[in-house]
């Protein structure tokens, strides 16, 4: 028994269990496309840690391996950004302006609504960069002196909600053009939304991944300006 406890609390176990659940959730999504792999894997993992009496602090020692890779993953976004920019050369400038407008609206509404609901300053600052891809949002949140953990939660909510209802909302607003759908989802719900679009249409997916990278860079720059202005 003691051996098992020791095993469950090792960082290797955390890595293995995370990989296994991710792998299984990809299979589940293959059969049921609506089943989001992030939600499936995370909920199962939380339950499993609870059942096996593994404290989160022990799980973290292994889980941090994945967290570290978020940095290289941010830089790696340069490849889709470059490749899609080559493909969409003709509409690069209007796309940039559209994503810029969307990013400003996103930052402004997120901060404003949190403020209207009486959230403290730190929470408002944490909400501002929530529309962009996780690693950039976390860094922007730190820059703004927000709480990166709150930002992480909001980034996940935006991404999940956007990937589930986003395409439907756009359809109801009769926004059907492939480039319009791609840029809207990429700007509002980053990698999670993009992953949903890639399965629907290649054009939408590639516009979305370009919009996501653009929105990330634009938001990071605007947050730096905001930081300098606020602090």
């Amino acid at each position: 028994m003691l051996i098992l406890v020791h095993l469950f609390n090792s960082p290797e176990f955390a890595v293995i269990i995370t990989l296994m659940l991710y792998w299984a959730s990809l299979h589940i999504q293959d059969r049921y496309p609506w089943a989001n792999p992030l939600v499936c894997a995370s909920i199962t993992l939380v339950i499993l840690l609870y059942v096996l009496h593994i404290p989160y602090s022990h799980y973290r020692t292994g889980g941090d391996l994945f967290k570290y890779l978020l940095g290289p993953a941010t830089v790696a976004l340069g490849v889709p950004m470059y490749k899609q920019a080559q493909k969409l050369k003709g509409s690069l400038k209007p796309l940039f302006l559209v994503v810029l407008a969307g990013s400003i609206v996103g930052m402004a509404t997120a901060g404003l609504v949190a403020w209207l609901f009486g959230a403290p300053r730190e929470v408002i600052l944490s909400a501002i960069p929530k529309s962009v891809t996780m690693p950039i949002a976390l860094e922007a949140s730190k820059e703004l002196h927000g709480d990166p953990r709150i930002t992480a939660a909001l980034v996940l909510i935006s991404g999940l909600l956007g990937s589930i209802v986003g395409p439907e909302v756009l359809r109801l607003a009769s926004i059907l053009h492939e480039h319009a759908v791609g840029s809207a989802i990429g700007t509002s719900s980053h990698a999670l939304g993009t992953a949903t679009l890639i399965r629907r249409s290649e054009v939408q997916g590639s516009v979305s991944s370009l919009a996501m990278a653009m929105a990330g860079v634009i938001t990071a720059i605007l947050c730096s300006v905001l930081t300098w202005w606020v602090h």
Binding site: L38, F66, V75, S91, G102, A184
Partner: protein
């Protein structure tokens, strides 16, 4: 280009710095090296005072290097595609950590939920609407969901 000159080019390429990777898996290693290298460069520039997050500086420099041809796409493509495709996996430990901070989240729950939902709709509709107006002429793509 004739088959012979193509072959010749390939030979001269691999006789130099064999960046394309004659050894299986070499391209992935090189890709990882380059990507982490740019991340480090970004972090260092941030540390000495560049006003952007390190990862974003790395991303920008990396993209410029690709556009300028300093870094060839085929050197980094495999590693980058892997990292980007499985970004979801990297979020899992964070999701698992959310119950740990449920008290903080609940305290501002309404504000946070309202902020993220309203902002999501605002971004979707402004970006989508503007793109619908301005990207239609620029793009050659077809309209989906024709009824």
């Amino acid at each position: 280009m004739s088959a012979q000159s193509k072959k010749h080019a390939a030979v001269s390429d691999s006789s130099g710095l064999s960046l394309k990777g004659r050894i299986p898996g070499q391209a992935e290693v090189l890709g990882f090296l380059i990507i982490v290298g740019f991340e480090l460069l970004g972090m260092e520039l941030h540390r000495v005072g560049a006003p952007l997050p390190g990862g974003v500086i790395g991303l920008l420099l990396f993209t410029f290097a690709l556009a300028a041809g300093l870094v060839k796409v085929e050197w980094v493509e495999k590693t980058a595609t892997f990292l980007v495709r499985h970004m979801t996996l990297l979020f899992i430990p964070m999701m698992v950590g959310l119950p740990q901070m449920s008290a903080e989240l609940r305290a501002e729950g309404v504000a946070l939920l309202a902020s993220s939902v309203i902002s999501l709709f605002a971004v979707l509709l402004t970006t989508g609407g503007l793109a619908h107006i301005f990207l239609r002429d620029a793009a050659t793509a077809e309209v989906v969901g024709k009824k």
